[in-house]
Symmetry: C2
Subunit: 234 residues, 2 copies
């Protein structure tokens, strides 16, 4: 499903050039559940942003990183903004590390939005959103706005919004960082269930407990993959 070959990402600020990803190569098959772990600042969110086509891989001053990113067998590293956005809307659900909820939308509206983009009929929308809101335990907050929610409630809305269209690929950046263990496990169970139904999942996590729900763990350090191991608890 995903084939990265020597992908790099270099950020430049006025004085400092920092290499967030350094020729990363990696393959992920359809239906896999992979965890990405590593110390703070080592490049995990950057890798997820490149995988999710929110960011183009590049070296400073070089048009393309010379690397390649094949998504579902087509080259996407050089797509423009519109091209990447089209592939993304159809195929990828993204759970952001800082949630990225829209302040002007209620919990219900935020979760419904991806279904509207996919032209799902209104009554089916309503039913699917209500079922998912129930599953993650925030039905009592469905008409609240993000600023009226607790940190963990915002995180659960971000999770629901990424899952609602059952996209073929889910990218999750620390999906349980603000949750107590019981709500955290509910989110992990939801991801496992989708994975059993065929969804490919790539999850960045600091928690080895959460990583144990996945099949494979990739370790990153200073923008490079340093090791990999199998992980299924089952």
């Amino acid at each position: 499903m995903i084939k990265l070959n020597k992908i790099s990402k270099v950020y430049r600020t006025d004085e400092i050039e920092s290499t967030a990803l350094n020729e990363v190569s990696l393959e992920i098959g359809k239906g896999e559940f992979v965890s990405i772990m590593g110390p703070s600042g080592c490049g995990k969110s950057t890798l997820l942003n490149v995988l999710g086509m929110l960011d183009k891989p590049e070296r400073v001053g070089v048009q393309s990183a010379g690397g390649s990113y094949k998504f579902l067998d087509s080259e996407v590293a050089d797509l423009n903004e519109k091209g990447r956005s089209d592939v993304r809307k159809k195929n990828i659900g993204f759970i952001f590390q800082n949630f990225n909820l829209i302040d002007e939308l209620t919990v219900f509206e935020s979760i419904e939005l991806p279904l509207l983009y996919n032209k799902i009929g209104l009554s089916e929308c309503k039913q699917r959103v209500n079922e998912l809101i129930e599953k993650i335990g925030i039905s009592h907050r469905a008409s609240h706005y993000p600023q009226q929610l607790s940190g963990g409630q915002q995180q659960r809305v971000a999770v629901a919004r990424a899952l609602i269209t059952k996209p073929p690929l889910i990218l999750a950046d620390e999906p349980t960082g603000n949750l107590d263990s019981s709500h955290g496990n509910e989110v992990m169970e939801l991801l496992c269930q989708l994975n059993e139904e065929g969804t490919t999942i790539i999850m960045v996590t600091h928690s080895s407990h959460d990583a144990s729900y996945s099949d494979r763990i990739i370790n990153l350090l200073d923008g490079q993959i340093v090791s990999e191991k199998k992980s299924k608890m089952a």
Copy 2:
């Protein structure tokens, strides 16, 4: 140091009235290190905001909650915005669950700001900020802005900003939620060290590992304290 008596907080949105804190009473002595735990949405951040005087305790439609909040032996529940802000700037360092970093300030400037408010001389400021930036491992990012930092780097800046003036009270809302275990332990060690020097610390956490660094654990559920226990690992 802190004496809360029957403090309540009720939020009202158009259709729903939610009681985030329901007559909470609690005492915290100078130099204590207390953890507050409980499920997502049970009122932990709200309690910390009331303790930090970022929010006034109140019942809907009632001017004061009828409860009382004595901070360093003086009643603060009915202070106005200016009164609370004065007490806060002199006495409290706050680590926010969502960091609340100022976009227009670099890492260095964000951490230096509380020292400037306290009229510390410029060369002493520079030295103290550089030492702390070194301790939490982000000297290589000192001139970056928040949007150029990873999630865990932003969290460490939020931690440093709360500690730099060595305030008598530190309120920490999930200070390690975005950190790997090694950086998370560095933050906990820093907090322990300040506590040994006399700082009072109240920390909201989902991690029983982090809570084990504190002396006492208070459990919240649906806006009420349901249990308490001793905790020192030592």
